[in-house]
Structure formats: C-alpha cells, structure tokens
C-alpha cells in the first residue's frame, strides 16, 4: 500500500546508514590500540614472534592502507562473508546465527510480558486518573524505572531461584524456565516505562475531540475505550515497541551476562573483551540492520493501521 518509490528510498537509506555504521565501526577498530593479529594469536594461546605477526598481517591484508582494507572487507561483506572470528574459530555469520535464536526468544517473551502488564495497568491508570489506583500504579512504574536492571536481575535470582527455589538456576533444556527470569527482569524495567507511556497515550487520546463526539452520540464508555481509544493510542506505542524490540534483538547485555544467557549481548561483550574485531563488526552491523528493518516494518505497519499516513502514501 505504500508507494514503491518511498519503499525504495527507505531501503536506500538503510543501505546508506549501514554503510556509515560499518565504516565507523571499522574506523574504530582500526584506531584502537593493540593489533588484531596479536589478539588472534592470543586467543589461541600463542605469543607470536614479530615475524609471525608480520606474515599474518600481510596475509590478512592488514598492512594495506585503511581505505583499501575497508573496501576489501566491504566487498567480502557484500558477498556475504563477514570473516572469521578471531577468538571463536567460527565464521561470524555462524556465530550470529547461533546466538540469534536465543536472543529472539528472550526478546519476544519479554516483550510479551511487557505488553501483558503495561497495557492494562496503563489503561487503568489513565482512566482512573488521580485516583488511588492511578497513584499506586504510577508509583510502581516509577520505582521500576529507577531500579538498576542488573540489580533486579540479581535480586530475582536470589529470591526466586535460591530462597524460594521456584525456578531452576540453570537448566540444560534451554526452555521456557531458563528464560523466565531474564525475561521477567527485562519486562520489569520495560513495563514500568510502558505503563507510563500507555497512560500518557490514553490520556492524550481521552482529550481528543473524537472522544467527546462519541460520548455525545451516546456511545458507552467501555466501547469508547476499547473500540475508539485503544486503536488510536496504540499508534504511538507501536513505534516505541518497535524500537524496544530493535534494542532487545540487539541483545540485552547486562541481563544476558547475569543469567549467562547465550544471546547477542553476551557475544558482544565477549567479542569486545577479546578484541575480536570481525565479530564486533559483524554484531554491530547485524544489530544496526535489524534495528532499521524493524523501524521500516513499524513504519509500514503504521501506515496500514493509520489511514492518514497510508492515504498520503508517506512511509
């Protein structure tokens, strides 16, 4: 429904941004002190001699000028070859694929939990503005926003896994029970924020004239809430949810570290610690791509939901 031109120009924009992202990442790793060859040998436990370093450098094209290196990398990248990880003996693509599943699962579960709690709470809070329940919900969400996520994670671990023994601390299944605590940790912070946002969106919609219109036409309050306000209020929230999903798919570093959850975030921290430049590049590029694709998806879905945008053909 969106015009093809606009889609094309959006995709072009994505390509340009990816280009910029890859360039900056490459530049960063290039400027970084310490050299990748030594790092690579390090990773396998060798202290290389200068000679070994020199040979490896020329083999890997690292003695070339920066731009040449970049273009070599870029052309490989365009052919779908992101190189091989220095520290993990797998191609970057394989590593990304491997960690993506776990991250996807965690992202969707936590987003699901977030929506499940934030939407009803936000609505109650908006509808009962300035009543006791509103204050209560707002205080809760305020607390949630102000708590450090990693602390919540640790405390959940302590209470639920250890004190109450409700959730296994580790599990080989990789199933739901392994994801539950990380997902809850993420969801607490996110739904605190979303509760506020749902509330704001509802209040905003409540103040619109069409609500008055519906009331003067005798439409019942419940119907106004669910059939009129909710779809309208979802519009701004969809964008935010898209953004959150984007960053969730980019890995949720801290939570993954605390729960030893093998997602992209953990992979990223390990890559940074090991100065695994190809892997860092791959991860960054990948996340940027996901982020922008989700943005695009949000915009497209937005235009499906919001006729004002659809009809004007703007993406």
């Amino acid at each position: 429904m969106i015009s093809r031109n606009l889609l094309v120009s959006r995709i072009l924009q994505i390509v340009i941004v990816l280009f910029g992202v890859s360039f900056i990442t490459f530049l960063l790793t290039y400027l970084a002190p310490g050299d990748p060859v030594t790092a690579m040998y390090e990773a396998v436990g060798i202290v290389p001699t200068d000679e070994m370093v020199a040979t490896a450098k020329s083999q890997m094209g690292l003695d070339q000028p920066f731009l040449v290196q970049y273009f070599i990398w870029l052309s490989n990248c365009l052919r779908g070859d992101l190189g091989t990880s220095f520290s993990q003996h797998l191609t970057v693509i394989d590593l990304l694929k491997k960690n993506l599943g776990a991250t996807l699962k965690l992202a969707f579960l936590s987003l699901f939990l977030t929506i499940l709690t934030a939407v009803p709470l936000g609505i109650i809070s908006a509808v009962r503005q300035d009543k006791l329940s509103d204050y209560f919900i707002r205080s809760l969400s305020f607390i949630g926003i102000s708590l450090p996520g990693f602390w919540i994670g640790l405390m959940l671990l302590y209470v639920f896994a250890y004190k109450l023994n409700l959730v296994p601390v580790i599990s080989s299944g990789g199933g739901l029970e392994k994801m539950i605590l990380p997902a809850v940790t993420l969801a607490i912070a996110m739904s605190s924020k979303y509760t506020r946002q749902v509330r704001t969106a509802f209040l905003e919609e409540l103040s619109h004239d069409y609500v008055i219109g519906a009331r003067t036409r005798g439409v019942s309050e419940a119907r106004i809430l669910w059939r009129h306000i909710l779809p309208n209020a979802m519009l701004p929230l969809i964008t935010l949810l898209g953004l959150s999903l984007g960053s969730l798919l980019g890995g949720t570093v801290v939570v993954e570290m605390i729960f030893s959850y093998p997602g992209l975030g953990k992979l990223a921290v390990e890559a940074v610690s090991a100065r695994d430049y190809p892997l860092i590049q791959g991860i960054v590029l990948w996340i940027a791509l996901i982020y922008m694709l989700i943005n695009l998806a949000v915009d497209i879905s937005y235009s499906y939901i919001d006729p004002r945008i659809r009809k004007k053909g703007a993406v």
């Binding site: 519906a214 036409r217 005798g218």
Partner: protein, 261 residues
C-alpha cells in the same frame, strides 16, 4: 420541547459562569445564542446535553426535556438521551469522528446503538442520511476517512449524523465558524431545509449575528453568563434594547455599510 429555567452553572467552586438562564424551545423553532467570548454560551449547550466537564455542575435551576427533568438521568438514560433524543453539531464535526475509522463504520455504529438495525440496514440508512445532506457520492463518503473530506463536507457529515435519527432537539455550537463564507452559506441553507422536513427544535450558538438573524426565530444575547436581551430575531436586530446588543450590531461590518476611508 426543552425548557430551561433559572439555570446556574459553576465550575468547581468558582463564581457561576451561567446564571438565571431561561430558555424554551418548541419543535420547529430555532433559537440562537449570541454574545461575547467566554460569556457561557458553550457551557449552556453542554449542560443541555448533560456533558459538562467533570468540574462543572448545575447548581440551581432545572432542565426539562419533553416535560421530564434530565438532571436526574441515570447513566443508561443519558446514553439514550444523547444521540437519540438530542444530537449535537460542532464547529468541526470532522474532529468529532475517530480519525482512524471510516465514516461509514462510525455511522453504522451510531445508528445500531440506538435502533435495532442489521449492519446492512444501518449502512443503507447512513447512505440515505448522507445523500440527504447532498453529499454527492454517498457510497464513497461512507468508505472515506474523516481526514479525506474537506471542512464543508465533514460538516455535512456531522449534520447528517445528527439528523439521521430524527432527534427532537438539535444543539449546534458555532456550526459554521470554521467555514469559508461560500461554504457557510451552503451549510446554512442545508440546515434550514432539513429543519423544515424534520420539525426539530434547534439551539444554536454563533458569533455571526447575520447568520443568527437569518436562521433563527428567537435570539438570546448573553454577556458575562447572563442573558442581557432576548426576543424575536427581527426585533432584536432591528430594535435592540440593550447597549451591548446595540454596539454588537453596529460593529458588524456590512457591505455597503460604514466605510472607514
């Protein structure tokens, strides 16, 4: 049809914004309320619709619709009253429609809320209402979103909806203020035509004395929450009694009237 007696309205606990307000409208009559900004005109209309803001309250007087006081209505009765017995036309009726739902679906929702109709019947009835207000392609209009129509067309949709269920009382808050003069003329003409057909009573708030004089049987002039003058439209225009009404009438620019240069 509607009788308002000694109405007094207050917001929170402040000075009353409307005091000693009396009004009586019979079927087929148009009563216009004019007056300076902030004099409480809209407040009165809202009170008639039982739609005062949360902090607003009728503190004295009574409003009787077909002999029955509406102030004691239950929630259910209010829903029946609004939309079925009375209807409201706004300055921008388009804004009163859900922006992301098609006009047809909102009309259907509205009609089925108050009358036992199948979806198709409601759709047909909606189309009928739209063609009544001379919207050229009523089928297309039903399928359009509010933002796709021009201001004049939206206003006509608003009027069509307001009239669709033959309400006894129509309330109109500056129905033409947002429109261009040529469109304003179209709408005025339309309202008058429909009035003749349906025999409803209209209470209209307007800033435009010309429109008020042309359309209405009676005019109320308000200032500071009080009625300063009321009477037959012609009499008020031709023979204003209060100073306020007189300056009001004098300062309206007229073609071929006073020239400044």
């Amino acid at each position: 049809m509607i009788e308002v007696s000694n109405l007094k309205i207050q917001y929170a606990n402040r000075r009353p914004v409307v005091e000693d307000f009396n009004l009586s409208v019979k079927a087929g009559q148009i009563v216009s309320i004019v007056g300076e900004s902030g004099s409480g005109k809209s407040t009165v209309l809202r009170a008639l619709l039982g739609a005062l803001p949360e902090n607003g309250k009728v503190t004295a007087g009574d409003i009787r619709f077909e002999g029955e006081s509406i102030l004691g209505y239950s929630k259910k009765e209010w829903q029946q009253y609004r939309g079925k017995k009375t209807a409201m036309i706004f300055q921008d009726s388009g804004a009163m429609l859900n922006p992301i739902r098609k006009i047809g679906s909102q009309i259907v929702e509205y009609l089925r809320l108050h009358e036992k109709l199948s979806k198709d019947e409601a759709w047909e009835k909606g189309k009928e209402a739209l063609s009544m207000v001379r919207l050229p392609d009523s089928d297309n209009t039903m399928k359009a979103y509010p933002f796709e129509l021009s201001g004049g067309m939206r206003q006509r949709v608003g009027i069509a909806m307001a009239m669709a269920l033959n309400p006894g009382l129509l309330l109109a808050d500056e129905p033409t203020a947002a429109l261009d003069v040529t469109t304003q003329a179209q709408i005025v003409r339309l309202m008058l035509e429909l009035m003749e057909k349906q025999d409803a009573g209209i209470v209209m708030v307007t800033h435009n004395l010309g429109v008020a004089a042309y359309m209405s049987d009676y005019i109320l002039v308000m200032q500071n929450g009080k009625i300063v003058e009321s009477g037959k439209a012609m009499e008020i225009v031709q023979n204003p009694q209060s100073d306020y009404t007189r300056t009001l009438i004098e300062t309206v620019p007229r073609l071929g009237g006073k020239r400044y240069v």
